[in-house]
């Protein structure tokens, strides 16, 4: 399987000060990697580093140049924008469109098919802000799929949704891995969910990233969640 993402001794931070150091990880085509850590542990910093939104302070990051899909935390998107569901999904094609180009019929069809894929085609004309948390998350996944990514990065996709919705979202991600050969990198603070559904999990804590869902790591994480 081809490697889509590799971090080799990478350090990320702000204002030249590293918050995370010595990060090593790989994501392969068809693979799924979970990243877990308590609030404020640096998960978002890691994601932003991986996506190239903040500079790599040391080490190397090898990532796809264009074939990168990103699903942000839905709370980070302001509900004041009166966007319809289809408008949100169509935004995923904007990267291919220069100022002068309008959305083509093919791109509209692609948006519709991505919405069908996440099971929300019939709600295309509805206001995005009226959907439930899980539905909005699926719409954002459909938007990320518009750029036909090889690597999909999701920031807390299961935050604030019920257990059934969590499982359906993870099923959708597994399908993307298995059928499209997509690599998926998933950030969450929901330990039990990742342990049961994601084959490989990394822990982000105290400025470091540790590999493997070891017993000690789980205990520490549970301590963090309950303490």
């Amino acid at each position: 399987m081809s490697r889509l993402l590799k971090l080799d001794g990478a350090a990320f931070g702000y204002g030249g000060r590293p918050l995370l150091q010595g990060v090593n990880l790989e994501v392969h085509a068809g693979g799924m990697l979970g990243i877990i850590g308590p609030n404020g542990s640096g998960k978002t910093t890691l994601i932003r580093g991986i996506l190239g939104l903040i500079p790599t302070l040391s080490g190397t990051v090898t990532r796809p140049k264009r074939d990168l899909g990103y699903v942000p935390q839905r709370e980070s998107l302001d509900a004041i924008f009166p966007l319809s569901v289809e408008e949100v999904v169509q935004m995923g094609a904007y990267g291919r469109l220069s100022g002068l180009r309008l959305l083509s019929r093919a791109e509209r069809r692609l948006a519709h098919s991505q919405l069908t894929r996440v099971g929300l085609a019939e709600r295309a004309r509805e206001p995005f802000s009226r959907l439930s948390g899980g539905q909005r998350q699926r719409v954002l996944i459909a938007r990320a799929l518009m750029s036909t990514p090889r690597l999909l990065v999701l920031d807390e996709p299961t935050s604030g949704v019920d257990h059934d919705t969590e499982l359906r979202l993870l099923e959708l991600l597994r399908t993307l891995c298995a059928e499209d050969g997509m690599g998926v990198l998933l950030v969450s603070h929901h330990l039990a969910l990742l342990r049961q559904n994601v084959p490989e999990v990394l822990l982000v804590d105290s400025g470091k990233v540790e590999r493997g869902a070891s017993h000690a790591m789980i205990e520490r994480m549970e301590h963090c969640q309950h303490g």
Binding site: S76, I80, F81, S84, E87
Partner: protein, 294 residues
């Protein structure tokens, strides 16, 4: 005014009406971006800041003419030449708009107190207008007319300025609508999709500053901020998509102008203020029907 027929009034005030229609279409469109970016207060403060610049320009007119040699000739005579007066005011209004926007954005990045900061900018700009106007050897009448929304006697040159500015802003908004929307809604995704976030933020800033400076000098701050804020605020309540939101905003702007003209002619009100009052009517359905926000 009672003896003048409607057709005669329209003929008499045609440049003001046409200028107001142009602004009624384009100001709410750009105002829709200000609203969803939660920067509507900029639409209130910037025209005041711009007018403070114009007032300072009138204050410094003799000095500019003597030391810089621009505008040339007798400064007082300059005011009788609408082209020269407009160009001179445009420079001052534009400089202040850009500087005001830059400062609001710069301090805005520091975080808290956005509303208070803009309110302070509004208050200071308002005070500056009156202080500068007090010391301005010429142009006090022009400043007062702008403040009161007396736009009835706009000439062809002012209309041309408004029309060209609105056309430029509309074309650029249309061309880069997708990018401006993406950058405003989700700047991280825009960066990942290789969009120049800084470039598009700057473009929006320049469009706002351009519209505000030209609008302030021709239509006055009252009309300008009314059209920037009221139609989008009303449209937001009913829109189910961004497309609907912007169409409803523009339609609301046009309604305000037409209804304002009727109010102004019937009740003998200043045209600019009447248009804003009519824009206030747009908010009524939202309050009365208590429609849940889309």
């Amino acid at each position: 005014m009672d003896e003048i027929s409607w057709l005669e009034r329209i003929e008499l005030f045609r440049w003001a009406l046409l200028a107001a229609l142009c602004a009624g279409l384009v100001c709410p469109w750009i105002g829709s971006f200000l609203l969803v970016r939660r920067t509507s207060f900029q639409g209130i403060a910037l025209p005041q800041i711009s007018l403070a610049g114009v007032a300072l320009g009138f204050c410094l007119l003799p000095w500019c003419s003597r030391v810089l040699g621009w505008p040339s000739g007798n400064p007082e005579a300059m005011l009788t030449d609408p082209h020269m007066a407009m160009n001179y005011s445009l420079v001052w209004g534009g400089l202040f708009s850009l500087a005001g926007l830059g400062l609001l954005l710069f301090f805005g990045r520091r975080g808290e107190g956005e509303t208070a900061r803009i309110a302070a900018a509004f208050a200071l700009a308002n005070a500056a207008i009156y202080i500068f106007a007090r010391y301005a050897p010429f142009g006090r009448n022009e400043i007062e007319e702008l403040l009161h929304g007396e736009i009835q006697f706009l000439g062809l040159h002012e209309f041309e300025m408004v029309a060209v500015t609105c056309a430029c802003v509309a074309v650029l908004l249309g061309l880069f609508h997708k990018d401006l929307l993406l950058v405003s809604y989700d700047s991280d995704s825009a960066r990942i999709l290789k969009k120049s976030v800084l470039g598009f933020e700057a473009l929006l800033l320049v469009l706002v500053a351009l519209l505000v400076s030209v609008g302030t000098m021709t239509l006055g701050p009252t009309l300008l901020f009314g059209l920037l804020v009221l139609p989008p605020l009303s449209a937001r309540r009913f829109a189910r998509s961004m497309r609907q939101f912007q169409l409803l905003s523009a339609a609301g702007g046009l309604f305000s102008v037409v209804a304002g003209v009727v109010l102004s002619f019937e009740l003998d009100l200043p045209l600019g203020a009447a248009i804003v009052a009519a824009g206030g009517l747009l908010l009524l359905p939202g309050f009365v029907l208590r429609t849940p926000r889309a």
